[in-house]
Amino acid sequence: MAKKITVHDPRGYPPKVVGKRLANRLQSLDGKVIYLVDCLFDNADVFIEQLRLWFAEHLPTVITRVIKPRESWVDDPDMRETIAREGNGAIIGVGL
């Protein structure tokens, strides 16, 4: 029978995952302000503009506003504050 040996686990220490409940959903989008967040990936602006046009054509009662963070892949508290203060929902795209 082959000898058994003990070895170390090579992985680091993961952080605790703290659950966050999702925000309440909207009963209807009529008259609501939906921010379309251009996350600044290449061509995301073109995608977001097409999304804006889709809402204008298919759901004209939804008020869409396009917004961009200050820079790519960096949290922009000012942008988030604007969305939270003036918006009812957000769609972020397109990228990771």
Partner: protein, 437 residues
């Protein structure tokens, strides 16, 4: 605030894993096909009016549902949980443990040395640092969760890579850089590490013939240890989950060499960066995306340099690695290292049209240009056919190494400072090894 993130479908597994780690396993994602880059407005409109390739439902139905479908119990509770990794694995046979390490993707798929308690103890004799000293945190990209690690975890991975105890201070310093050698960027970045100072010779590193190749135990295993520890202490480098590099990168197997300080006509790299000649340092360059090679300098070296510099993917500036023969020839022509770098920055020019027609320049640099940050703002103001400088002197670094069998040099994608994906460290990629002895 009800929110729906939109990603391309190849990121579906990663999006799910990221949402879980953020405590929101029921996050309502929507997906469009890959790619978005390069697609016309009409093609992107077709994505919007088409199917979500992950949900297999109309994309806009998924989006609207995500904003309006009432929450259920699962949505409301979120997910809080502790995770842990054991210090030791359950005893098993060597054969079974080797299989376990491969199945768990804890290796680079080359043979590893199993990190037994005895071997890890031996490795830890290479440093005076306590085994439980927390070195820092590491993650595959800036938006992922960061995992913590200590001296012992680095020693474990150093054993796996086949390193010797005397190399451990170098490996600990690399780990302390805060830069992962296993970035999950789609651009398949790797790291290239350069060792300076007395420790190069103390541990027998190669800065001669074949310095960048598999011809030295220290060079090979230190670079490999950095890769293994990166993937393991950060919680993985698994394709589709924690690794998204489309092509992958052969620099990622191992890329570590020493500078040939004694045969360079110029000051050592670490002295340029403010360290003393007697300091031992390791510098982590983040890149490896491209590698151009050439000979010289010959009569037309300027044209050749300009061709090579402008052929780089310019969001990732070059680390120029020169054989001492090349460095001494430039020195005899009257160049200092700094004046040669300045010449490169001055003469590497593209039209503004070409400069901005790059997905990472657009993604990473354009927002700063729009915000008025120089020199990017001037580049954005340039007319499309105007020639603009694509690098500043601070972007470019030169390191001297090699065996003088040929006047060879390489320009390797290797960002030293500044903006870019895949690392939290934007400011101090040269680490003092002596603190980790």
């Amino acid at each position: 605030m009800p929110t729906v993130p939109v990603s391309t479908h190849v990121f579906a597994r990663l999006a799910k894993a990221t949402a879980l780690a953020a405590g929101m396993p029921t996050l309502r994602n929507a997906f469009v096909p890959q790619p978005v880059v390069g697609r016309s407005p009409g093609e992107l409109r077709a994505y919007i009016e088409g199917m979500d390739p992950v949900a297999k439902r109309p994309f806009m139905q998924v989006v609207l549902d995500g904003l309006t479908r009432p929450l259920d119990d699962e949505d409301l509770k979120g997910a809080t949980f502790e995770r842990s990794t054991p210090r030791l694995l359950p005893p098993d046979t060597e054969e079974n443990l080797q299989r376990l390490f491969i199945e768990n993707r804890w290796t680079d798929f080359l043979p590893i040395v199993l990190p037994t308690e005895e071997r890890v103890e031996q490795m830890l004799r290479g440093t005076s640092q306590p085994r439980d000293r927390i070195i820092g945190r590491m993650r595959p990209t800036a938006f992922r969760e960061a995992w913590e690690f200590d001296v012992e975890k680095v020693a474990v991975n150093a054993v796996m890579a086949g390193a010797r105890p005397e190399y451990l201070p170098v490996i600990l310093a690399m780990a302390a850089s805060g830069i992962t050698a296993r970035s999950s960027s789609t651009t398949s970045f790797a790291t290239i590490s350069v060792v300076n100072g007395p420790i190069r010779n103390e541990i027998g590193m190669n800065s001669g013939i074949g310095a960048l190749g598999p011809y030295n135990h220290a060079n090979a295993t230190i670079g490999r240890a950095y890769g293994l520890l990166s993937q393991n202490v950060q919680g993985g480098s698994v394709p589709g989950e924690t690794y998204m590099g489309s092509l992958g990168n052969n620099w990622a197997y191992t890329a570590c060499f020493a500078e040939a300080e004694e045969r360079s006509p110029w000051a050592p790299f670490h002295v340029d960066e403010g360290f003393k000649p007697t300091d031992s340092t390791v510098t982590v360059f983040f890149g490896g995306w491209y590698t151009h090679s050439g000979f010289g300098p010959r009569a037309t070296w300027k044209e050749k340099f300009i061709r090579m510099l402008t052929a780089t993917d310019h969001y990732s500036p070059p680390l120029i690695v020169m054989d001492p023969l090349v460095a001494r020839a430039f020195h005899e022509m009257g160049f200092t290292k700094r004046s040669l770098i300045e010449w490169c920055a001055e003469n590497a020019k593209l039209t503004a049209r070409e400069y901005w027609d790059d997905q990472w320049v657009t993604t990473l640099i354009r927002p700063h240009a729009v915000a008025g940050v120089e020199p990017y703002a001037s580049r954005l103001r340039a007319a499309p056919d105007e020639l603009i400088s694509i690098f500043t002197p601070d972007d470019i670094r030169i390191v001297v190494t090699g065996g003088e069998t040929q006047g060879a040099f390489k320009m390797i994608s290797g960002r030293y400072l500044g903006r870019g994906p895949g690392t939290d460290n934007k400011s101090k990629p040269t680490v003092l090894i002596d603190e980790w002895r």
